[in-house]
């Protein structure tokens, strides 16, 4: 996650020689070249509309979205069941905001993509544990009893070829292709997927049926978790730690207390840096960590003691640095560019959120029911 220190921000050590450009131009270039700013995790693009929002607004967004999502998936079936449409709407809003904040690059290239299997896992979990629900049952998976050779097979082979050529990984491509093939077979009627040339008989047909309500519930939970996760990411990817401290100060928290939070964030950074350094050193000692989680945990166990020891030692020096800067004897502290002003955009958004909250939670409206009444939503 961190990079080797290298003066990345464009300044060369020890070079004071003239560059042949005016000072102003250099500064303009510097500002312009700083397109990304470091946020909680990773970096965000400077200047996006989401970045300009106040930290309190962003926190409000997570809080409100979370409460609404939780409410939406907790509506009991006696009152119409979870608000699927509402959740879909909510999730779309969050994803759109993430796109607007230009965070797509990070979401795709990082560990966070694991959120998808987690959501799928949650869906299955809720599904499995709710077989006891009454009501009509729908087929979840249909196994027609034979291996169909046709369009679905063709697609699978094509997918395999593409993925393999691109990535060179045999196993993953095969797995993907197999999954695709099965997926083609899923929504098929009992006599198999369309455009089948040939059928290789395998076994008697199997239909896995689940209660309709279980599917609704599982889907609702998965979508709801999605909202929770991605709303949190929205915050983490677009907010700088400094903004939190600024927000605290605006809420009239005393400087030394708000600064405690700032120091904590600063330490978080240092620890991650140390952790990275130690991991790199371990790699040089043939500790091939790979993806084996157990090994990683054990290695962390070995590393944690010296890591903590070094953090404790660092904190002593930090204390000295604080003292030397005049922390202990400070009287009234000037707040120099610590805070960001609360704009009307922030006010508008918070009002919208409040309205949304009242509408859904307090007045108990459900978008699904609304749509059903208007005939848009099936059932």
């Amino acid at each position: 996650m961190s990079r080797e220190s290298s003066g990345r921000s464009g300044q060369e050590e020890g070079k004071g020689k003239g560059k042949g450009k005016g000072k102003e131009e250099e500064e303009e270039e510097e500002r312009a070249s700083k397109k990304y700013v470091r946020t909680f995790i990773y970096s965000m693009r400077v200047g996006t509309p989401v970045e300009k929002l106040h930290a309190i607004t962003k926190i409000a967004m997570i809080l409100f979205f979370s409460v609404i999502a939780i409410y939406m998936f907790d509506i009991p079936f006696s009152r119409g069941g979870p608000d699927l449409l509402g959740l879909i709407l909510l999730l779309s809003i969050v994803l759109i905001l993430l796109a607007v904040a230009r965070t797509a690059k990070y979401l795709v290239s990082s560990y966070l993509i694991m959120a998808l299997p987690v959501l799928i896992g949650e869906f299955l979990w809720w599904l499995v544990f709710n077989q006891g629900l009454a009501g009509p049952r729908i087929p979840l998976y249909v196994w027609p009893g034979y291996f169909p050779i046709g369009v679905s097979t063709g697609l699978a082979v094509l997918a395999f070829a593409l993925v393999y050529l691109r990535s060179g990984r045999l196993f993953s491509s095969a797995l993907l292709a197999a999954l695709l093939w099965f997926a083609c077979v899923v929504p098929a009627p009992l006599d198999g997927p369309p455009f089948t040339f040939y059928r290789i008989p395998a076994s008697p047909a199997v239909i896995i049926q689940v209660p309709q309500e279980a599917v609704d519930l599982a889907l609702a939970k998965a979508l709801g978790y999605g909202v929770l996760i991605y709303a949190a990411f929205l915050f983490l990817l677009t907010t700088r730690d400094a903004e939190i401290v600024g927000a605290l100060l605006q809420l009239k928290v005393k400087f030394k207390q708000a600064f405690f939070a700032a120091l904590m964030f600063r330490n978080l950074n240092t620890i991650l840096l140390d952790y990275d350094n130690v991991r790199v050193a371990q790699r040089a000692r043939a500790a091939a960590a790979g993806r084996n989680p157990l090994k990683r945990v054990i290695d962390l166990g070995y590393m944690s003691v010296p890591l903590i020891a070094s953090m404790i030692k660092r904190s002593t020096e930090m204390g000295v640095a604080l003292h030397a800067r005049g922390f202990e004897t400070a009287g009234t502290v000037t707040q120099y560019r610590e805070t960001r002003s609360f704009t009307y955009v922030d006010a508008v958004i918070i009002s919208l959120l409040l309205f949304f909250l009242v509408y859904v939670v307090i007045m108990g409206n459900s978008f699904t029911s609304l749509a059903a009444r208007w005939g848009i939503w099936p059932r």
Partner: protein, 233 residues
């Protein structure tokens, strides 16, 4: 060393006074901020390293647990604050779980360290059990011969069983009330929480105590009471 009364033990100065040395110096300030950050990172790693198995912030092996237990025994209230913040931010926000549920159920993480601090420093320390868990690994402390069996017994009973179960109940219970846990999976989750914590506690506490007690003691960093640390620097 003969011990006639509670105050003769080598750890007698570690008690339950609220704030024996007034005023937070820069070093302490920095230390408490640092240990909070350490717990946050460890909470985060506890959930993340084991991958998606551990969703809902309930890790199958919540290895930060022994860390904030030990930190609370050393630094009192600060360790407990770190436990809460760690769960909210590290195992909650940074993992992507919604803050709202996290704010609520992370309270469960406050219970074990709080209980341990009060019980150990208030009662057990006067009966020959070290409130800093050193007697789990050391045969003698400053000349006093420890009773390791008794230490382990109380350790597992109080931290591994009683208050661990209470916190599991609280944590999973709150999540259940919010609809984050499927009803039929309640006990599975519950046992997952409890066993995960217990395993981590038993396996990792000795490592921490053995590796770091010396450093922390020598630097005089241990708190005399709930809030402030040892005298003189």
């Amino acid at each position: 060393m003969n011990v006639n009364k509670g105050s003769d033990y080598p750890w007698a100065s570690y008690g339950l006074a609220w704030n024996p040395k007034k005023g937070l110096g820069s070093s302490q300030y920095a230390l408490y901020a640092t240990q909070t950050a350490v717990i946050v990172v460890l909470s985060y790693l506890s959930v993340v390293l084991l991958g998606p198995l551990s969703y809902s912030g309930i890790s199958l092996f919540y290895f930060v647990y022994p860390f904030f237990m030990v930190f609370s025994m050393w630094w009192g209230l600060w360790g407990m604050i770190a436990a809460y913040v760690g769960c909210v931010i590290g195992a909650g926000l940074m993992v992507g779980l919604g803050v709202v549920p996290s704010l609520a159920y992370s309270v469960a993480d406050l219970v074990p360290p709080l209980a341990a601090f009060v019980i150990y420093r208030g009662v057990l320390s006067k009966r020959g059990i070290d409130p800093l868990f050193r007697d789990l690994v050391e045969r003698e402390i400053s000349g006093y011969k420890t009773n390791r069996a008794a230490a382990w017994f109380w350790f597992i009973l109080i931290n591994g069983v009683i208050f661990n179960f209470v916190s599991a109940e609280l944590g999973v219970g709150i999540q259940y009330a919010m609809g984050l846990v499927p009803p039929s999976a309640f006990w599975l989750w519950w046992w997952g929480w409890a066993i995960g914590d217990l395993a981590a506690l038993v396996l990792i506490t000795p490592v921490i105590v053995k590796g770091l007690s010396g450093l922390v003691e020598r630097a005089g960093l241990i708190n005399l009471g709930w809030i402030s640390r040892r005298c003189c620097g």
